[in-house]
């Protein structure tokens, strides 16, 4: 299985941010997205996850293969750790949340309401969700925000074992995760605002 991206252009707020991206991610691999703040990593991941349409180009991926992990964790403050996780497990048609709890060291917190977790504990719960999706391709947007060194280690282990088990991960991050991975820097693909093809003549569909 592979995720292929050809000549992809993505836009945010009506403005192209990245153009002409081409890459392939096959199972068993990790690809790290790098790029300065505001370069379009989040936009790219959202487009790949199907949340917004691409401006141009082709995305090829097997259906039902993607699990997306966003800046926000989507936790319900009044539900407990176990309830939050069970919900996502049922949505994705899986049932067992124990391995996920164990992997992210959440067993001791399982009955705590999510609103009483610290920033890093919330994040760990958000990441544990990935394990219960059962999806092959993980698209992760700055997954290690707020995590301490030990938790970053837990996360890296989780990614490694996921990949070893036939998964793949595309991770946008600013820090070094200590993973054996290829790196894709998005900076060179920044959209050029004055590219002539986008300004044929005034008004000629020139609204992006």
């Amino acid at each position: 299985m592979e995720l292929t991206v050809e000549g992809l252009s993505v836009a945010r707020g009506g403005m192209p941010v990245l153009e002409g991206l081409t890459f392939t991610l096959t199972t068993g691999n990790i690809l790290i997205l790098r790029g300065p703040n505001g370069s379009g990593k989040t936009t790219l991941l959202r487009t790949l996850a199907g949340l917004q349409p691409p401006l141009a180009g082709r995305i090829g991926l097997p259906p039902e293969a993607i699990a997306y992990g966003a800046h926000a964790d989507g936790l319900k403050a009044t539900l407990s750790v176990a309830e939050n996780l069970t919900f996502w497990a049922r949505v994705y048609g899986t049932t067992d949340i124990e391995p996920a709890l164990a992997q992210f060291n959440l067993k001791g917190l399982r009955n705590r309401a999510a609103h009483s977790l610290s920033a890093g504990q919330k994040r760990r719960l958000g990441l544990a969700r990935l394990l219960v999706t059962g999806r092959r391709f993980w698209l992760l947007d700055e997954p290690t925000v707020s995590l301490d060194q030990a938790s970053v280690g837990l996360f890296a282990d989780a990614v490694r074992s996921h990949v070893a088990g036939g998964g793949a991960a595309l991770i946008a991050t600013h820090i070094d995760l200590g993973l054996a991975a290829e790196t894709l820097d998005v900076a060179p693909f920044r959209a050029d605002p004055d590219r002539p093809t986008r300004t044929p003549t005034a008004f000629d569909e020139a609204f992006t």
Binding site: G14, M15, P193, A202, D204, F207
Partner: protein, 255 residues
């Protein structure tokens, strides 16, 4: 995919209109004529209606209100119909002109609605002895006013222009269905006080020619005024949309 977003088909001669460049060009050419038509129909029609119509037996001189009330009420309803069509064009064909024309027409529709409501109320006071009554036609018209307000508020609340276009178009369609439904509901709920279809050719209801002729003139005039205003305002919206795109690009170049 082709370079333009729209694929070509037999109706292309029609869709050409919706190309922003074509639209700017054509309306630029047509605008003086439409404005001219407005001037030569609306002003004489109003003058005729105001100065040269006799008093009616039942209405007295208040009959002159008909020349502002009826055209604006008619256009208020038709403007919504035009917005519905324009919204459908945007949703189906993704032509910006469609969405922006709908956006441009809404304030015109609201102003006509307000005029019809106010003049109707002013006319109602001497005729029915009340400013307002919960008559089916009045009531459904008031609901239409609310739909206009909601539609405009939704446009104003969304920043991204294409998202706003999509959502307001969905609202226009669903709203139209409910506007029609309300009309039936209100009819069922109450019997009318308001004038019947006096413009119909039905002999009994028909108004005398002395009133009818200037009214037709003002009706033509108000349609021309509407078209002229929608042209001007759509051109403004297109320019603003283009300006928005340019500003985004500028911003990107700065960043």
């Amino acid at each position: 995919m082709e370079r333009t977003k729209q694929s070509r088909d037999a109706w292309n001669w029609l869709w050409e209109w919706a190309n922003p460049v074509k639209f700017m060009h054509l309306t630029g050419k047509a605008l003086p004529w439409v404005v001219g038509l407005t001037l030569v129909t609306l002003i004489p029609g109003l003058i005729w209606g105001f100065f040269f119509t006799p008093e009616a037996d039942k209405f007295g001189s208040s009959v002159k209100i008909i020349y502002v009330h009826v055209p604006s009420a008619m256009m208020a309803i038709n403007a919504w119909a035009m917005m519905l069509v324009a919204s459908l064009i945007w949703l189906v064909r993704r032509h910006h002109v469609g969405a922006l024309a709908a956006k441009a027409a809404a304030p015109v529709g609201v102003v006509f609605t307000v005029i019809a409501l106010l003049t109707g109320a002013i006319w109602g006071q001497p005729m029915w002895g009340t400013w307002w009554a919960w008559d089916p036609r009045l009531t459904s018209f008031l609901i239409l006013f609310l739909f206009y307000l909601g539609y405009m508020a939704l446009w104003a609340a969304i920043d991204d222009p294409d998202t706003a276009a999509d959502l307001t178009s969905v609202l226009a369609i669903v709203g139209s269905v409910f506007a029609v439904l309300s009309r039936y509901a209100v009819n069922f709920w109450n019997q009318g006080l308001h004038q019947g279809a006096s413009l119909s050719l039905d002999a009994e209801e028909n108004v005398a020619d002395v009133y009818w002729q200037p009214l037709v003139l003002t009706l033509v005039g108000i349609v021309a005024l509407f078209v002229a205003l929608v042209f001007i305002r759509t051109r403004t919206q297109l320019r603003r949309r283009r300006l928005h795109a340019l500003e985004l690009r500028e911003r990107m170049a700065d960043a």
